[in-house]
Symmetry: C2
Subunit: 464 residues, 2 copies
């Protein structure tokens, strides 16, 4: 095994064909790809979408690529990764203690990964902290700890099993005195309508902290855990004292307990079958106990974003409540003070990759009256409404601005800040990235002072 | 162009050979790879290393892989990336303003990239913020903004040119109303001995903030910049008001101004030639104006880490100052209070990848006397000494512990916290990751209360 086994060599793709020197391999033609493409077309049709619409006509292929990339761990083995990267390293000479290749704890912290929830097929984020205590005068290349974690993250998973599999694989691969793994996992909530209207904090994530230990870390209150947890503390992660307690909400995946996800009627059987065929194409067994309900969970998630014809109704509804035209027939441009509704949460689904994006919307408008709860609820409903369909952030921003302008007058500014799952859960993996979009209507489009005044009212949210 | 052109398809490597279905391509046998391998062997020999030593015998191949991967942008073109990902998107209907596919600013913030400094061949970190104002009723897939940035980052670069090239490429590729790019760049300092002994803050990075604008962003004080900079502010990046001033220290690369890097004598010509051949193998012209001095700069950097025979002398020196054996012939185990020297900075060079790693060392020991400046300076010298060679963090930790124990008694605990450039500047790209290692000598290895007491004295440093 050489250094080349350290990971993956990037191969250019041109015209949808993988080029490798003079060789060409048709990824698009592989049966697994074709099967997923077919299945995603069924899902899009089930959502009421026109699969030939420009924005989504290549979505099935994008989804196929993302899913196959995101589950490539099934085809990887840890032995190949670790074996070329074990290096001789001395321990202590004639001194009592632990250091170097014998006994000196090594821990790599804050490794960002993502995985796919086996219960609902949505990606979840993983911050991985992994360490081991070398023995036998050898250490492993640091990047291998991340690469091994990645092998198991790139499968359909559940946090505790993910931690256990990483731990076990490193124990077998390195044969150290012990391996310790702590994972902080974040799963998105289900965007239930109830949570919006009841004002519950749907922006909160389902969080889980899980751990796994082998060798000297097998005993929960072993001394070794004390050192390990202290080293995590330095990074601002206070997971408590040993013995470390896993903290995982009763239902990690919101789709696990059916009571938390109410949906009228059973899932569309064609869509369910399509998702089952995707599981099979990824190399999984759709009949595996943990996967039996996954297709219907995923379809339930997806159906939150189905295409509807409600748009006209909502516009009518809004127009009926507040007349944007004053009695003199002119739009109420730029009257009053700049008011703002900030940090209105939303969920949406990226139409290019069928992956969630979510964040907050800030809305500025002119009015003599400050915002009240009724106005806030109405605006939040509009935000919610336009989120719950296949979207792109640019369109979402425009649609919110247009609709809100009919409610709050023609001078409206909308800023949408969002995290896109498609920016982390595919080859791109830009974990800290965040997208902002702006729409400026009426006076806001011409008055830079008004724009600046509104923008200054938005509180800074430090990068997560 | 299909969705497949969105990036790179990962191909498994086994036994150093790229496997693609049943196809095998010998990356190791490609002439560019072989040339870099040869050149790195010359460099290792120039550092006084045995190129057959277990830890480094595969280093030349690892370096070749990292460099070719890190400069793959030379073989990529932006047109291919952007063209498949332009989507029709409406602007506003019958409303004055800007939104969606016409005029609605889109900005993707906090994209982590790395690039190679063309002046010294070391990687530098780039936090990229990039945006554009759509026109012509079309928007580009968000990930393309990152992928285009990556094409230019993965070349030998200088911050301002990198910003300009990203900006120009997006302007040509998307043809929007304007493109804006702001880069925050971090370059490591040169680990000069002077800076250590003069106590200057060598941990500080050389920072640069540069920007580039096209279209409506071409004018420095354009309104559009106001919106753009406000959106950056929300992420805690206050780069000031428009017009944005680039902030770049006089000499971005410490090797640019020869005065800041003192080194006795000229660089070894064989090593300089080897680096020039690497530049050529990467597809660069070693005679390009900006690259003429690069080989000697890189060799000067590298020579900070040459193998020396000083170890014995230092041990003798230390042993002469403080006798670890008390008059009764026993080591001074566990006497006195736990004292600590915290946050001692160090630089080192990873022997597996010839890439820097750097961070801080914390040392705990038992003594009745609190640490004084002399003791701190001595300990810092030891840390510095063991950093300045080809290293692995585990060995560095052990060596510091062993040497310090001869100075401060047999009961010593050492914690090293480090960022490894090899964890970000290769395929792995785990930007936030950080590695901690521990050595426990004497009483610290058996007394968990002593360990915990020392570990609690280390201040938490939130993940950067």
């Amino acid at each position: 095994m050489g250094a080349l086994d350290e990971g993956h060599f990037h191969v250019e793709l041109e015209n949808g064909v993988m080029k490798l020197g003079s060789l060409e391999v048709g990824f698009e033609q592989e049966p697994e790809t074709l099967a997923i493409v077919d299945a995603v077309q069924v899902l899009l049709q089930g959502l009421g979408e026109d699969i030939n619409r420009e924005g989504i006509k290549k979505t099935p292929l994008r989804v196929a690529k993302a899913l196959r990339e995101g589950t490539r761990g099934y085809k990887q083995t840890v032995k190949d990764i670790v074996q070329g990267a074990l290096f001789p390293e001395a321990g202590l000479d004639n001194t009592v203690g632990r250091a170097g290749g014998v006994g000196g704890l090594v821990i790599v912290r804050d490794l960002d990964h993502y995985s796919y929830c086996e219960c609902c097929l949505l990606p979840f984020q993983v911050k991985c902290h992994v360490g081991y205590i070398p023995s036998g005068q050898r250490v492993v290349g640091l990047s291998k700890l991340s690469r091994v974690a990645d092998v198991f993250a790139k499968r359909l998973q559940e946090p505790k099993r993910l931690a256990d599999e990483i731990c076990l694989a490193l124990q077998h691969g390195i044969k150290p005195a012990g391996v310790a793994v702590v994972l902080q996992c974040l799963h998105i909530h289900s965007p239930s309508l109830e949570s919006f209207f009841l004002g519950s904090n749907h922006q909160g994530w389902v969080k889980a902290i899980v751990h796994s230990g082998s060798g000297v870390f097998e005993i929960e209150n072993a001394d070794a855990w004390g050192d390990f947890l202290s080293l995590l503390k330095f990074r601002g992660l206070d997971v408590g004292r040993k013995p470390l307690k896993d903290s995982m909400e009763q239902s990690w995946c919101p789709y696990q307990s059916s009571s938390s996800v109410k949906l009228v009627g059973p899932a569309n059987p064609e869509m369910v079958n399509a998702v089952a065929s995707i599981l099979k194409s990824l190399g999984e067994d759709p009949l595996r106990k943990e996967l039996v309900e996954t297709p219907s969970h995923y379809v339930k998630w997806l159906m939150n974003f189905r295409n509807t014809n409600l748009e006209m109704k909502l516009n009518g509804f809004v127009g009926g409540i507040v007349d944007p035209h004053k009695s003199n027939g002119e739009l109420a441009h730029g009257k009053g003070q700049i008011q703002s509704e900030l940090n209105l949460p939303f969920w949406s689904q990226c139409e290019h990759h069928l992956l969630p994006f979510y964040g907050v919307v800030h809305i500025g408008y002119f009015s003599d009256e400050e915002g009240d709860q009724t106005k806030k609820s109405l605006v939040q409903s509009i935000v919610h409404f336009y989120g719950l369909k296949l979207q792109v952030q640019e369109r979402l921003t425009r649609q919110i601005a247009e609709t809100v302008s009919s409610l709050l007058g023609g001078d409206v500014m909308v800023v949408v800040e969002a995290n896109h799952t498609c920016m982390i859960s595919r080859g791109i993996e830009k974990f800290g990235s965040n997208t902002a979009t702006i729409a400026e209507l009426g006076r806001f489009s011409t008055d830079s002072v008004a724009r600046a005044t509104f923008l200054q009212s938005i509180p800074a949210s430090l990068a997560s």
